[in-house]
Symmetry: C2
Subunit: 350 residues, 2 copies
C-alpha cells in the first residue's frame, strides 16, 4: 500500500483504515484516510506492509529512517521502544506521554490503556520535577508509569516509578532522657554509660565507641538535640545553640540540612534510619526494629535530593540495580518547601 | 602508670618501655622513656593501663579524648580504625600512611609490616592522584594497600586498592571489512546486512536494530571509524571527517573523549567492551567472547575518570558494592596524558 511522507506524519488512503487501524490499531483516522506517526510507519515499512513516497520518490528503509530522524526529535529512541513493545505483543499508541500501552490481551476500544511509557535517552538528564509531574499525571488517571531508558547501545531498561508515602511502625522515635554530648571534629559523642545504652538499645541511635560511650552521626545528633534529648557542647565545654550546630554541621557535610530533612521526616513517620554508606546512598531504613540484637532486613534505601535535581540515568540505574540486588526498595526523597515527597523507582520487565 | 600529655604525644617514663613497648609494641622509645601517639594513649587509657596528666591534672577519658581531638586532625577517625584493628588482634603502628599493620601472628621485630592502612572519612573527597601515589608507594615496598573508610556513623569499611593492567584474550579487535553508516541523532546505524552481521557476530559490536541493520554506540563507531572499518555519513549523506565526528559526539556526550580513551585502551588490549549502563558504570568488560550466542560473564566494570578526579566515597562504595554483588571487579580507568592507568578497588575484610 502506498503512503506519503508529509512533515512528521505518514498519510495513507482510505483502505489503510481497514488494513491497519481496524485490525492492528495503527494510526488515527483522519478525514477519509489514515494518519500514521513516523514510528508506526517505520515499523510497518520494516515489515514490508507499506511503501512510503516523498515527493514522488519511493523511500527505502534507510532513507525513510534518516528522514524521520531529521523530522522528529528522539525518533530513534521512540522507534526502539515502540518496536520492542510491539514485539512483546502489546498494542501501543503514540500519546503525549510518548506511548500508551494496553493490557495484554486487550486493545484500543476494548479497554483503556494501562500504562504510560515515557521514553528517555541514557544521555539526557531527567529533571525530577518532570518525572514527578508525569508520574502524578499517570496516577491521577490510574495508570502505571513506566520510564523506558535507551542506553548508548540501544538496549532498553524499564523502570516503574511511583509516588510513595513510607510509614514505619516505631511508636517511640526516641527515649525520653537527657544527656550530655561533645561535638568533636566531625562526629558527636555521648559520654554517659546509661544514657548511651538507652539511646543505642531503645532508640537505635548511633554506634557504641566502647562499652560506655556512644558515637552519634550529625543528623542523629541534631534530631536528638532538637527534641531536647541531648545537650551538645564543643570540645572546650561551651554549649551549642541550635543554629551554631547547624552551621558547624553544614560546614562538615555539604547538603547537611537536606539530608536532615529526609532523616527527620523518616524518623517522625516511625522508621529507624541508619546510614546507607555501604550501599552508596544517604540512608537505609527499617520499618520496625524490635531489638538491637536482632536488627532485621532494611526495607528501603533512600537518597535525599533537591526539588530541582536532575537524574543522571546511569547513576540512577546503578542505585536501583544495587537496591534490587539486596532486595530493598530505592526511594528518592525530594525536598519540596517544608515537605518531603518520595519517588519509588524500581526496575521492571514489560 | 603516670604519663604526660605534651603537644600531640603522650610521654611515659622508663618503665613503660618494658610494659608497653617490649610486650605490646606500643609507642617508640625516646631517650630513656617511651613516646606514645594520641591513639595509642587513648587505647591504653580506655583499658585502664595508664594515667594521663596535663599540667598536673589527671585527665579522664572524655577530657583526654576532647583534648586529643583538638590537638590532632582526624584523631577520632584514626582512633576508630586503630581500636578496630587492635581488637581484631593485629599489631599496629602509626606511620606516614596512617598505620602499618603486621601479619597475623607476627609483630614488629619478628617480620616486616604487611599492610599500609590509610584512614579516610566518608565525608572527605579522595583525590585519585593521592590514592594512586599511596598505592604505588605501598606496592613499591611490596605492601598491601588498604583504605579504611569511616562512615558518618563511625562504621568501618575496608577497601583493598591495587594497580591493574587488564589483559584480554581477543586476538582480532575488529573484522577487516568496510561498510557505510549514518550518524543519526545520537547513535550510528550500519545499513548493510552482511557487514552488520560480521561486526555483530565476529567483532561483538553494537546491537541489531532488526535482522539487517546494526546500531553502534558512539565509542564503538569512532573505534571502527578510526580503523577504516566504517565510513560515517550524516543524515543527508555527507561523509564525516574524524574531527567532525569527535565534535558531534562530544556535543552529545560530555566526556566522550575520555570514555573513548578507556574504550580504545580496553579494546586494544584484547577485551570486548560493552556499556555498563545497567550497573551504573561506563563499561562492562569481557576478557574473551567466543560466540555471540554464548556471551560469558563479564569480568570487570569500568569507570573512566580524569587524572584530577576526586572520589566521593559513598559513590565509590556503591559502585564497588554493586560490582561485588554481581561478581565483577570494579576498575577505575584513570586518563593520564595519553595513557590509561587502572585502579582495582574491592571491599575486603581485615
Amino acid at each position: 500500500m502506498k503512503t506519503q511522507l508529509k512533515g512528521d506524519r505518514v498519510l495513507a488512503e482510505k483502505e489503510a483504515v481497514a488494513e491497519f487501524y481496524k485490525t492492528g490499531y495503527f494510526g488515527r483516522p483522519k478525514g477519509e484516510g489514515l494518519e500514521l506517526s513516523l514510528v508506526e510507519a517505520a515499523f510497518l515499512l520494516s515489515r514490508g506492509k507499506l511503501e512510503i513516497e516523498l515527493e514522488g520518490t519511493m523511500l527505502d528503509f534507510r532513507y525513510f529512517f534518516e528522514q524521520a530522524s531529521l523530522r522528529q526529535p528522539n525518533f530513534e529512541l521512540k522507534y526502539i521502544v515502540y518496536k520492542d513493545l510491539k514485539e512483546r505483543g502489546y498494542y501501543v499508541q503514540p500519546s503525549a506521554a510518548d506511548f500508551r500501552v494496553y493490557p495484554r490481551g486487550s486493545h484500543p476500544g476494548k479497554s483503556a490503556a494501562r500504562i504510560f511509557v515515557h521514553v528517555q535517552s541514557e544521555r539526557q538528564l531527567l529533571p525530577v520535577k518532570l518525572l514527578q509531574d508525569s508520574v502524578i499525571s499517570a496516577e491521577n488517571v490510574h495508570k502505571q508509569f513506566i520510564l523506558a531508558v535507551v542506553d548508548e547501545e540501544s538496549d532498553l531498561t524499564f523502570y516503574e516509578v511511583k509516588t510513595a508515602v513510607p510509614k514505619g511502625e516505631m511508636t517511640e522515635p526516641y527515649p525520653a532522657i537527657k544527656t550530655d554530648a561533645t561535638f568533636l571534629e566531625d562526629r558527636v559523642i555521648a559520654w554517659d554509660a546509661q544514657a548511651s545504652e538507652t539511646l543505642y538499645k531503645r532508640g537505635f541511635y548511633g554506634k557504641m565507641l566502647d562499652s560506655e560511650r556512644l558515637q552519634l552521626s550529625l543528623v542523629e545528633s541534631l534530631y536528638l538535640f532538637s527534641r531536647g534529648i541531648i545537650t551538645v557542647r564543643d570540645r572546650k565545654g561551651k554549649v551549642f545553640s541550635f543554629d551554631e550546630f547547624i552551621e558547624k554541621a553544614s560546614e562538615i557535610e555539604s547538603f547537611f540540612l537536606r539530608k536532615y530533612s529526609a532523616y527527620k521526616n523518616l524518623r517522625d513517620s516511625g522508621h529507624v534510619v541508619k546510614t546507607g554508606f555501604k550501599f552508596g546512598t544517604n540512608f537505609r531504613v527499617y520499618r520496625k526494629v524490635e531489638s538491637i540484637e536482632k536488627i532485621p532486613h532494611s526495607e528501603y534505601l533512600v537518597n535525599a535530593i533537591p526539588a530541582d535535581f536532575e537524574f543522571r540515568l546511569s547513576v540512577m540505574s546503578g542505585a536501583v540495580r544495587l537496591a534490587n540486588s539486596v532486595r530493598k526498595k530505592m526511594l528518592f526523597a525530594v525536598e519540596k518547601d517544608e515537605e518531603i515527597e518520595y519517588l519509588d523507582i524500581s526496575r521492571t520487565k514489560m
